[in-house]
Amino acid sequence: MADVTMTVNGKTVSKTVEDRTLLVQFLREGAGLTGTHVGCDTSQCGACVVHVDGKAVKSCTMLAAQAAGSEVTTIEGLASGGELHPVQAAFREHHGLQCGFCTPGMIMAAVDMINRLGGPLDEATIRAELEGNICRCTGYHNIVKAIAAASAEMAGVRTAAE
C-alpha cells in the first residue's frame, strides 16, 4: 500500500492505495471524480486524458503514485466559477459530442493542444493531433469544428490581452 497525496482541481487529496492503483482509479474511486473515463486497456482511446502539471496525460497509463505531489486537473476542474471553458463551450455550440463518453478526454486533449500550439489551429493540425483520442459517435467532423473555433477564440483573447 502507498500513501498518495496530490492536488486535484485545486484541492489536496490524500489516499492510501494499493501500489498498482492507476491514476484514473485514484481519481474515479478515490477522489470520486467520475468524469474521467476508461474506454480501453491499451492506452489508445484517450477517454481518460487529464492534465498532470499542465500536460495532457492518459491517466490509465500512469500509476497514482507517479502523480504524487502533482497538480492534476480533470474535466470537473476545467470550468471556472460556473462558466464553461471556451473548449467546453465550443463542443456544446458545435455539437462536438453525442453520447458524451469520449468527451472529457477529447476536451482535455483539445485544451492541451491549444495550449501547446496556440491558435487558430487548422483542420489538418487538429486531425493529426487527435491521434490519441477515439470517438465512435461524431465522426470527428464537429469535434474538429469545435476545436478550431475554440482555438480561434482563445487566440483572439490572447491577442487582445497582449
Partner: protein, 789 residues
C-alpha cells in the same frame, strides 16, 4: 399546431451537453452502492473445447473473495438459457435450430472469451486476481470460424441441435419468375461479395451493477442498455431472474450503443443472480478486451449476387445467395438481421420485377453476431450498390444514369420482397449529390490528380433502408417475439411545466433536446419548462427502446398521441374556464385563446386549474396527464445518394477520401444539427468498414484484432469533413412525417467508397477493408490481368 423558435426544424444546441462537457454525466460504472462487490469473469482461451475440470479452491481462499460461481450453481438455481427472440423458419417449414446458451458454461465452450465462472470480490483488482487463479482444464476441439467452412461436410460441429451447423435455410421472393428473368436476360452481372465482420465499439464498455433487496425480494439493475424495458421483460420472462414487478432496470447515461447494447448478455444476468447469491451488490464493467470478445459483432456475410438486364439495360431480375455467420450462439435478435432486415431491402431504389434470395445462417466458433448500426441494411446496400456499379461498367453506361434509368418513381411501390415503399424522390437526391460533387468536372480532377501521380476515382451509392421498426402485427407474422410499438406519457405539472416519459432511450441521439422541441413546437412553451424522462422501468410505463432509427418515427409518434390527448383535455377545460365553445379554443405561443375575442388563458393557468379542480366541466377528472401507445403502420424508408471521391497512391495503395457528398431524404427533421451529427457518425463507421475495420480470426478461432492496437478504429485523420444536404419527401405513415436518420450513413457509405476505389484503380476485385496492402495488391493484379490480355 403552433410553432416556436425552439420547435421543429430549429437548430437548438443540446440541453444534455452541460453535464457531459463538465464531467457530470452518470454512466453505469460511475454508480456506487454501499457494500458493493466486484465481479470478474473466468473466460475460455479456446474457441472450441470441452471443459474437463474447474478448480476454484485457490481462488476462494484469496483475500477479499466472496464467491466463485460456476454453471453448476447457475443451473441449480434455475437461471434460464439465453435465447433468440425472433423465430425464423427454413424454406422447408422447419423452425430455426437454436443451440443451448448458458450464461456460464460448464460443458463445452464455443468461442474465445465465453464465460465459465465468475468471481465476486471486494475490489475489481482482487476479483481479477482470483479469476486468474481459477484453474480450468480444457480438452481442445477442432474449431471452425468461417461460415462457408462451417457448412462443409466434416466441419467441426458446434451444437447437437443444428446438424451441419445450419441454423436455417431461408428464402424470400419468387424463384421461378426470377430464374425466368435470367433465362431471357440480355446481360447478366455476377459477383461474389464479402461483407466483413465488425466490432461495434461503443466507447463506453458494457457494465452492470445489480443490487438485491432480500426483505423486498427485489432487484435493481443499472446497466448499459438501449432498451431497459426489453431487458426487464427478457430477464423476467425467459431467464427466471425475477418477476417484472420485482426487477427495476435503469439505463442511465449510456455511452453509445450502435446495436450492441440492445441484447441481454450473460454478464448482466450473472450479476443479478450473483447479487442474490452473495447478498452483496455486484458490479461488473467490461474492459475493452472483454468488449471485443463478447459484445455482439456485426455483418459477416458471404454472398453471390446476379443481376439480369434486358437489352435496354433495365433490370429484370436479381438473384442472391447469402451465407451469414451468426457466431457461436444465437444472440437476441440475430436471426432477423440477415433475413427480414436484409433481404427485404434487396430491391434498393430500383424497380425490379423479380427477386429471389436464399440465406443460410450458420454457427461458427466466433463471438455471436447480431444487429450493428444498420443491421442487415448495410449488407443489402453494399450488395445492391456494388452490383449496380459493376453492371453499369460492364454495359458501358454512366453509373449515375444506369441507376436513374432503373429508379422507382411511383409510390406506393410494392417490391417483390415484402417492403412497400411509401414515398421518395430518388432523382432529387441523386441530382443534389451530382450537383454538389460537380460531376461534370470529375474528368478534369482525375487528369489533374494523374499529373501528381495519383489515381482519382468516383463512386456512387443510392441507398434505401427501412426504419421505424415496426408494425407489431406484421413483425409478429414474420416471427418477432415482441410487438414493436412505443409508449409515452405526458405529465403536465400544476405549475405548467411538462415531463415527457418515453420508452425510447437516448445514448447519444439527443432526445432530451429533440423530444422537448416537439413539445415546445406543439404548445408554444419554452424548452426550459420541459424535461424528458427515460431509461428507468420504475418511472416509464413501458418501452421498446432505441434501435433501428425508430425513436423519431415511432417514439415521437407516441409522444404526439399523448400530446393530442393532453391538448384535447386542456382545450376542453380552457373552454369551460373562459365560458367559450370548445371548438373556438386555439393554443398559440403557450396561451389558450378564444377565436374572435380577446379572451385568453396562459398554459400554466389551465394546468393549475386542472389540479386545483375547483372549477371543472361536468364529469372531467382532475389532473392533466395522458399516456399513449403508438404502433407504426409501416416501416419508413429513408433514402439518398452518397458520392465519394478518392485518390489512391499507386505506389503504396493508400486511399485518401478527398470529397464525400451525402444527400439524404429523412422526411421531417426536428433538429438539423443533431441529424447532421448522426450522419457524420454513420458515414465514419461506414468508411471504417470500407477502409479500416475488420474482426479477423485465425483458423483456431483466436480474435487477431482484439484491441485498439489491432482493430483499426477510424481516427480523426482517417476521415474527411463531409458535405451534407437533404431533400424532403414526408413519410405518410406517421404524424410528423419522419423517416429516421441514425443508420443511413453507415448503410450508404461503404459501397460509395469501394466503388470509388475500384473506379480509381481500374480493378473490381477488392474486398473490405480496402487497406493499403489490399488496394496495392488489387492494382498489381489488375495490371497482370491487363498484360495477359
Amino acid at each position: 399546431m403552433t410553432s416556436s423558435a425552439e420547435g421543429i426544424g430549429a437548430r437548438v444546441t443540446r440541453r444534455e451537453d452541460k453535464r457531459f462537457v463538465t464531467g457530470k454525466g452518470r454512466y453505469t460504472d460511475d454508480m456506487t452502492v454501499p457494500g458493493m462487490a466486484h465481479a470478474a469473469f473466468v473466460r475460455s482461451p479456446h474457441a472450441h473445447a470441452k471443459v474437463t475440470s474447474l478448480d476454484a479452491s485457490a481462488a476462494r481462499a484469496m483475500p477479499g473473495v466472496e464467491a466463485v460461481l460456476t454453471s453448476e450453481e447457475l443451473v441449480a438455481d434455475g437461471v434460464g438459457n439465453l435465447i433468440c427472440g425472433w423465430m425464423i423458419h427454413s424454406k422447408d417449414g422447419s423452425p430455426m435450430k437454436m443451440g443451448a446458451w448458458r450464461a456460464l458454461e460448464g460443458d463445452t465452450v464455443r468461442h474465445v472469451g465465453q464465460a465459465v465462472a465468475v468471481v465476486v470480490a471486494d475490489t475489481p483488482a482482487r476479483a481479477r486476481d482470483a479469476a486468474d487463479a481459477v484453474v480450468v482444464e480444457y480438452e481442445p476441439l477442432d474449431a471452425v470460424v468461417d461460415a462457408l467452412d462451417a457448412l462443409k461436410p466434416g466441419a467441426p460441429q458446434l451444437h447437437p441441435e443444428a446438424e451441419g451447423n445450419l441454423i436455417y435455410d431461408w428464402e424470400i421472393g419468387d424463384q421461378a419468375t426470377t430464374d425466368a428473368a435470367f433465362a431471357s436476360a440480355a446481360h447478366v452481372t455476377r459477383m461474389e461479395i464479402r461483407n466483413n465482420r465488425l466490432v461495434p465499439n461503443a466507447m463506453e464498455p458494457r457494465a452492470a451493477l445489480a443490487s438485491y433487496d432480500e426483505a423486498e425480494e427485489h432487484y435493481t439493475l443499472w446497466t448499459t442498455s438501449q432498451n431497459p424495458h426489453v431487458a426487464r421483460l427478457v430477464l423476467s420472462a425467459f431467464y427466471n431472474i425475477a418477476p417484472e414487478h420485482k426487477l427495476r432496470v435503469i439505463a442511465p447515461d449510456v455511452g453509445g450503443g450502435f446495436g450492441s447494447k440492445i441484447f441481454i448478455y450473460p454478464e448482466e444476468m450473472v450479476c443479478l443472480w450473483a447479487s442474490k447469491r452473495t447478498g452483496l451488490p455486484v458490479k461488473w464493467a467490461a474492459d475493452r478486451t472483454e468488449a471485443f470478445l463478447t459484445d455482439a459483432h456485426g455483418r459477416d456475410h458471404h454472398s453471390e449476387a446476379e443481376l439480369a438486364l434486358d437489352a435496354d439495360n433495365r433490370i429484370t431480375g436479381f438473384r442472391v445467395k447469402t451465407v451469414a455467420n451468426l457466431g457461436a450462439y444465437m444472440s437476441l435478435f440475430s436471426s432477423s438481421v440477415p433475413t427480414y432486415l436484409y433481404a427485404t431491402l434487396l430491391s434498393g431504389q430500383y424497380a425490379i420485377p423479380a427477386i429471389h434470395a436464399n440465406v443460410k445462417a450458420v454457427y461458427t466458433n466466433t463471438t455471436p453476431v447480431d444487429a450493428y448500426r444498420g443491421a442487415g441494411r448495410p449488407e443489402a446496400t453494399y450488395l445492391v450498390e456494388r452490383v449496380m456499379e459493376t453492371a453499369a461498367r460492364e454495359v458501358g453506361m454512366d453509373p449515375a444514369e444506369f441507376r436513374r434509368k432503373n429508379f422507382v418513381r411511383s409510390f406506393p411501390h410494392q417490391t417483390p420482397v415484402i417492403m412497400c415503399y411509401d414515398a421518395g424522390d430518388y432523382d432529387a437526391s441523386l441530382d443534389a449529390a451530382l450537383k454538389a460533387i460537380d460531376y461534370a468536372g470529375f474528368a478534369a480532377r482525375k487528369a489533374e490528380a494523374a499529373s501528381r501521380g495519383k489515381l482519382r476515382g468516383i463512386g456512387f451509392s443510392c441507398y434505401i433502408e427501412a426504419c421505424g421498426i415496426a408494425p407489431s402485427q406484421a413483425v409478429g407474422s414474420l416471427g418477432a417475439g415482441v410487438g414493436l410499438w412505443e409508449s409515452a406519457e405526458v405529465r403536465v405539472n400544476p405549475v405548467g411545466t411538462i415531463e415527457v416519459l418515453t420508452g425510447s432511450h437516448s445514448h447519444g441521439q439527443g432526445h432530451e433536446t429533440t423530444f422537448a422541441q416537439l413539445v415546445s413546437d406543439r404548445f408554444g412553451v419554452g424548452l426550459d419548462t420541459v424535461s424528458i424522462v427515460h431509461g428507468d422501468t420504475d418511472k416509464v410505463q413501458f418501452g421498446m427502446g432505441t434501435y433501428g432509427s425508430r425513436s423519431g418515427a415511432v417514439g415521437m409518434s407516441a409522444i404526439v398521441k399523448a400530446l393530442d390527448k393532453v391538448e384535447a383535455k386542456a382545450k376542453k377545460l380552457a373552454a369551460h374556464l373562459m365560458e367559450a365553445a370548445e371548438g373556438d379554443i386555439t393554443l398559440e405561443g403557450g396561451t389558450f385563446k378564444v377565436a374572435g375575442t380577446d379572451k385568453e388563458l396562459p398554459f400554466f393557468q389551465v394546468a393549475l386549474a386542472a389540479y386545483t379542480a375547483h372549477n371543472m366541466p361536468e364529469g372531467m377528472e382532475p389532473g392533466l396527464k395522458e399516456g399513449a401507445f403508438y404502433d407504426p403502420t409501416n416501416f419508413t424508408f429513408p433514402a439518398g445518394t452518397y458520392i465519394c471521391e478518392v485518390e489512391v497512391d499507386p505506389d503504396t495503395g493508400k486511399t485518401e477520401i478527398v470529397d464525400f457528398v451525402a444527400a439524404d431524404d429523412f422526411g421531417t427533421i426536428i433538429n438539423p444539427m443533431i441529424v447532421e451529427g448522426q450522419v457524420h457518425g454513420g458515414l465514419t463507421q461506414g468508411i471504417g468498414q470500407a477502409l479500416l475495420e475488420n474482426a479477423a480470426y485465425d483458423e483456431d478461432g483466436q480474435l487477431l484484432s482484439g484491441s485498439y492496437m489491432d482493430y483499426c478504429m477510424p481516427r480523426a485523420d482517417d476521415v474527411p469533413s463531409y458535405r451534407l444536404m437533404t431533400t424532403m419527401t414526408a413519410c405518410p405513415g406517421n404524424p410528423l412525417g419522419m423517416k429516421g436518420c441514425g443508420e443511413a450513413g453507415a448503410i450508404g457509405s461503404p459501397p460509395a467508397v469501394i466503388n470509388a476505389i475500384t473506379d480509381a484503380i481500374g480493378s473490381n476485385d477488392l474486398v473490405m477493408p480496402a487497406t493499403p496492402a489490399a488496394v496495392w495488391q488489387a492494382i498489381r493484379q489488375g495490371r497482370t490481368a491487363e498484360a495477359a490480355e
